[in-house]
């Protein structure tokens, strides 16, 4: 139980401390230290859940099982490595005069609070608090998207706020309907929105209300997942915000939103006993894969392109969870992990490359392999990994999803394969010219932190070659839970 307190308490305290001292010279290091402690607490919590099974704590307010504890560990890990990356990156931005001390303070404080809201969304047992935490996650990041105060970044932040705000309002209506159905079975009061209670009585919940509730929950949280046609905020927010933000938005927030969708799906499946939720998720997942892949080739901005790649991959995961069954769900969970690690690693390298060349336009970034081999090769390897090349972990999860699709939904397989092919062509050709070729870029005043990039890629490589038995067991348990 204390682990839960630490996991949530450290980033909350960190956010408050950095709100006062976030502009000082040592603040970036302090940000890293807070993230490290959150990570350690997350690992301890994970070890405990692995050892003792699911935990219900603080009068059932928090619930940790194998599904969310692995996301907690992943969130804490990526937020720690992103903090490592962000230290030299933000110092360079400050050095270039793009950020004032006040902006740095805002950034550091909001970074910690953002991590807090995501961890709260993952750990809470209350579907209402889940909504509150998801909305709070939007609020903490709005001012970070507009951090540079350029017209484009302000526009991106406005779009982000309005679209996600309206989207998440739909999810609130879904939550109200869920409560309405639950109240009839569980009685009024605080317990009727607790997921564990709902899960226990899901067979008795009114099917018509639940199916309507799921539509609203899916639209609402789906907006935050970045599912087409509600994905418009995503590429703008990724391209215009500071790069560490893009890394955590893509790597973590989208996962947390998908987590909310999957938790709702478990309840609806139990109440309906039909494939209604599955079909909805498969349809929109597939649409996102296709549209995401088609938009890739039209991009000029590197961060925008990889944002569309996130739309594509989130679609693939939604499709996998929609398909259901132990193998597809296992693959979806694995894909969540490897996508999160790979995509954040890519954003780290793209961020440094953009900082070096002073532009995010891909046709002006050239010859990274010559001037800074680690950035160049990091980007190349990261792109190969995200494109699903063996032996990286993304290959393993995509292979599992595709083979399961061949058996369960054969009509979808050619569409998926075509989309993955288009994505490969689009990303590979762009990255190749960015990595190789002539260049005139200058050196950066603060040497970039590239250890996180290679740590992430090494883990993804490892997951592609060999999934440790305890991790596989973990995924299997979670898959069993989700169904």
């Amino acid at each position: 139980m204390n682990e839960i307190l630490f996991v949530l308490g450290v980033p909350l305290v960190g956010g408050l401390v950095l709100a006062f001292s976030g502009g000082r010279p040592g603040a970036a290091a302090l940000n890293t230290v807070f993230s490290l402690f959150t990570f350690i607490a997350g690992v301890l919590l994970a070890l405990r859940v692995v050892g003792e099974g699911p935990i219900l704590a603080f009068s059932e307010m928090f619930f940790v099982d194998s599904f969310n504890v692995f996301l907690v560990a992943l969130t804490a890990f990526v937020s720690f490595t992103t903090a490592l990356f962000s230290r030299p990156y933000m110092m360079n931005e400050h050095h270039h005069g793009k950020l004032s001390v006040g902006m740095l303070r805002l950034y550091h404080s909001m970074y910690q609070l953002f991590i807090f809201t995501m961890l709260l969304a993952l750990l809470t047992n209350n579907m209402g608090i889940l909504w509150v935490a998801m909305e709070a996650a939007t609020l903490t990041t709005v001012l970070l998207v507009s951090l540079y105060r350029t017209p484009a970044s302000v526009e991106a932040a406005w779009k982000y706020f309005i679209l996600c705000g309206v989207g998440i309002a739909q999810a609130l209506f879904g939550t109200i309907l869920l409560y309405f159905a639950a109240e009839k079975v569980l009685g009024a009061g605080g317990t009727a929105l607790l997921w564990t209670h709902l899960n226990a009585v899901k067979g008795e919940l009114e099917p018509t209300v639940l199916s309507l509730a799921f539509v609203f929950l899916f639209v609402g949280y789906g907006t935050k997942v970045g599912l087409v046609p509600l994905h418009n905020w995503l590429p703008d927010a990724h391209a215009e915000g500071p790069t560490p933000m893009s890394a955590v938005l893509s790597g973590l927030l989208l996962n947390v939103a998908l987590y909310a969708v999957v938790r709702s799906k478990v309840l609806v499946d139990g109440a309906l006993g039909t494939r209604f939720a599955s079909d909805l998720m498969m349809g929109f997942g597939l649409l996102s894969v296709v549209v995401g892949a088609l938009f890739l080739s039209r991009q000029k901005d590197a961060k925008r392109m990889f944002a569309y790649s996130s739309v594509e991959h989130m679609g693939l995961m939604t499709f996998a969870f929609g398909m259901g069954g132990p193998v597809a769900t296992f693959a979806g969970l694995l894909h969540m992990t490897v996508h999160s690690l790979t995509k954040s690693a890519i954003f780290f390298t793209v961020g440094h490359a953009a900082q070096k060349t002073g532009t995010q336009m891909m046709d002006q970034i050239r010859g990274l392999a010559d001037t800074n081999p680690t950035i160049g090769w990091g980007l190349m390897l990261g792109s190969l990994a995200i494109l699903g090349m063996p032996p990286f972990g993304v290959f393993a999860s995509e292979f599992l999803i595709l083979t399961t699709a061949m058996r369960q939904q054969p009509w979808a397989t050619p569409i998926l394969l075509l989309a993955l092919g288009i994505a490969f062509a689009a990303i590979f050709s762009r990255v190749q010219s960015m990595v190789f070729g002539e260049t005139t870029a200058k050196r950066l005043p603060h040497p970039p932190a590239l250890i996180p990039v290679f740590v992430h890629l090494a883990i993804v490589l490892l997951l592609g070659l060999y999934i440790p038995p305890y991790l596989a067991e973990w995924y299997r348990q979670a898959a069993l839970l989700i169904g």
Binding site: L143, F173, K184, R298
Partner: protein, 218 residues
């Protein structure tokens, strides 16, 4: 029909009227007043429901609504428009009659959507769910038709009011901890938007959203 049911229906009718008035209101200052009135009617509604059903936690939620939606947020909005110097701004809305007609169609749709759910509900307020859905959709319509930042945000807040009304009419309100969380989110969101208006104006020299067309797929 008891007196309390009649009163609740009256409140619902008033809320619908206010939602339509907001749709057609061109002056920003009047919009803020309408928003405050919406909050006041919501508060009255919560009190009536609480009194007639004996749900005491609704009194707290009414108090929260009164403090937040009738006093604090209209005050913040008021101060904002004074500091932004747009107190007397008038928005040119094209085709108010068409918008109203679309609004009426939305109300009809809402009643149809809400019908199966209200039939399942056992609350005395169940007939008002259709109106709650209508308010959400009308606020959404308002957000679509507005091209200026402040009215769009008021539309957003009105949508939240509609959802709050939906929660009261189907279930006598959400659990207290959730309601507190939602109130916190709305308040923080309002403060962040307050900062954000200044950023928008600094970046675009105006709060007119028609300048926002940089980020597009070509």
């Amino acid at each position: 029909m008891t007196l309390s049911t009649q009163l609740i229906n009256l409140m619902a009718a008033l809320l619908l009227l206010i939602a339509f008035a907001m749709l057609a209101q061109r002056r920003i200052l009047s919009l803020i007043h309408l928003f405050a009135w919406q909050g006041a009617v919501l508060t009255a509604n919560s009190v009536i429901v609480a009194y007639s059903t004996g749900q005491t936690h609704l009194y707290y939620s009414a108090l929260l609504t009164l403090a937040l939606k009738v006093i604090v947020m209209p005050l913040i909005l008021h101060r904002l428009i004074i500091r932004l110097n747009i107190k007397w701004d008038v928005e040119t809305l094209i085709n108010i009659p068409t918008t109203m007609l679309v609004g009426i169609a939305l109300v009809v749709i809402s009643f149809n959507v809400a019908l199966p759910i209200s039939q399942l509900a056992g609350t005395i307020t169940r007939s008002t769910l259709g109106i709650a859905v209508a308010i959400v959709l009308l606020s959404f319509l308002m957000m679509i038709t507005r091209r200026k930042a402040v009215p769009q945000v008021i539309g957003f807040l009105a949508m939240e009011n509609g959802l709050f009304f939906a929660a009261t009419s189907t279930t006598y309100g959400m659990p207290m901890v959730v309601e507190l969380g939602i109130a916190l989110d709305v308040l923080v969101g309002m403060l962040i938007l307050g900062i954000f208006f200044f950023q928008v104006r600094q970046a675009f020299d105006s709060l007119d959203l028609k300048h926002m067309e940089r980020l597009k797929e070509e």
